[in-house]
């Protein structure tokens, strides 16, 4: 019975470590998806000049999932006759820093507000900036994400040793 409890405690520690690492993975996937979003918007806008609403509706499921609801919040704004608010855009998104939120907010606020050439230039510009954030998030994920899991394992092992 004791061994079962010890094993459970070990697993709980590893799980907590895993939960901490998820935040870094989310950030990594989120910024990767923002880069893909810029690329896709640029191509579609130049090729079909399709409206933003249709473009956002037709994104693939994986990109939508990784955007953590940002696309849905933006679609809500497109469908309602309201101004874009930062609070609404980042509804249910809590893993971003304030400076990142500011940049993403300005990006979404500028979408659809200029002619084809300027919109394309803006998308390319933001793609570069999101790539920088994405590579930072990759480093963070590698460093802290792995560290969190390792710390979970170490903490679990320490509990096992102490209890044995």
């Amino acid at each position: 019975m004791n061994w079962i409890i010890i094993a459970l405690l070990f697993l709980v520690c590893v799980f907590i470590g895993y939960i901490f690492s998820l935040k870094y993975r989310k950030r990594y996937n989120f910024f990767r998806s923002l880069v893909l979003l810029c690329q896709k918007l640029d191509v579609e806008i130049n090729y079909s000049r399709e409206r933003l609403k249709n473009l956002f509706l037709n994104f693939d499921d994986k990109t939508k999932r990784n955007l953590q609801g940002l696309d849905k919040n933006f679609l809500e704004y497109l469908e309602n006759n309201k101004s874009l608010e930062e609070g609404n855009l980042f509804k249910n998104i809590n893993f971003l820093k304030q400076n990142e939120k500011d940049m993403i907010f300005v990006f979404f606020k500028s979408l659809g507000r200029s002619d084809l050439d300027n919109q394309s230039k803006e998308l390319k510009n933001y793609e570069k900036r999101f790539e920088e954030l994405s590579s930072l998030a990759t480093t963070e994920n590698k460093k802290y994400g792995t560290l969190s899991i390792k710390l979970g394992v170490v903490a679990g092992l320490m509990i096992v040793i102490l209890l044995c």
């Binding site: 806008i45 000049r49 399709e50 409206r51 933003l52 609403k53 006759n81 659809g112 002619d115």
Partner: protein
Amino acid sequence: MLKNILPDNIYEIISERISFNAINEIRMRADKPIVLAIGLQRFFLSERGTTGNLKEAMSASKIMLEDIIFRASECSIYSVNEQIKKGFIVTNEGVRIGIGGDMIEENGHIKTMTNFNSINIRIPHEVKNCSLPVFPMILEEDTLLNTLVLSPPGAGKTTFLRDFICQLSERNYAFNVLVLDERGEFDINNGKSLGNYSDKISFARKKVGFENGIRALSPNLIVTDELGDEEDVEAVRYCANCGVNILASAHCDSIESFLKKPSFKKLIDEKIFKRYVLLSMRKGAGTIEGVYNENFSRLGRY
């Protein structure tokens, strides 16, 4: 209509206190009163509806105009830039919004328009049966005669053409109608206002639209709005030479002034149009003033 485009307070005042059906135009100019064209009269928009008192009038702001244009483009200005370059945009409900602002030119070409300072929202209306009085004069033994509808701006040309297409369909004249909708304002009811026998090419120049349409869709009749320059006239001649009938419109306030237009000289000399329908605003938009034959003899007075 216009719910997603106009600011909430303006939409509510118009829909609750005035009615969109009564309005022909909404004119908004930056920092100036909002003007409504109702029938032949002009009113200011106020919190209580319409007013003639300038002090009670509601004003439009520059930001309001920009937002209306942004919303009218479905939040995608880049998708309507070609229209903006021509000075208007058309919403998905067929509402044409004329825009005033600063044109940006680059290498001799208009790149876009910025600094919007005025808009003119033209609200389309379906006037059922407005084309019926001239039906017997345009159709001879089930053949449609090439017809040009003439009127000053806002006098009901598009409404007339739209109703004519619908009447053809309702009376089962199974002409294959090609609607060349250069400004995207014919279809105001998701295709229902254009009957059952019509195809539509939108936002193409007349020359391109006529050539492609005739090749690809083999129409019996082409309907198009606002013939203007030499290129349009050449497109009509091409169409007539292909054996396709035409129903078109042009800006003009009288037969006399039409005859003075140099760009239409060839069409007049070659008698391509067999009928001319003159519309005016005398009793409201779409008043039929007369129908004329190719020699400009009046066939009917209304």
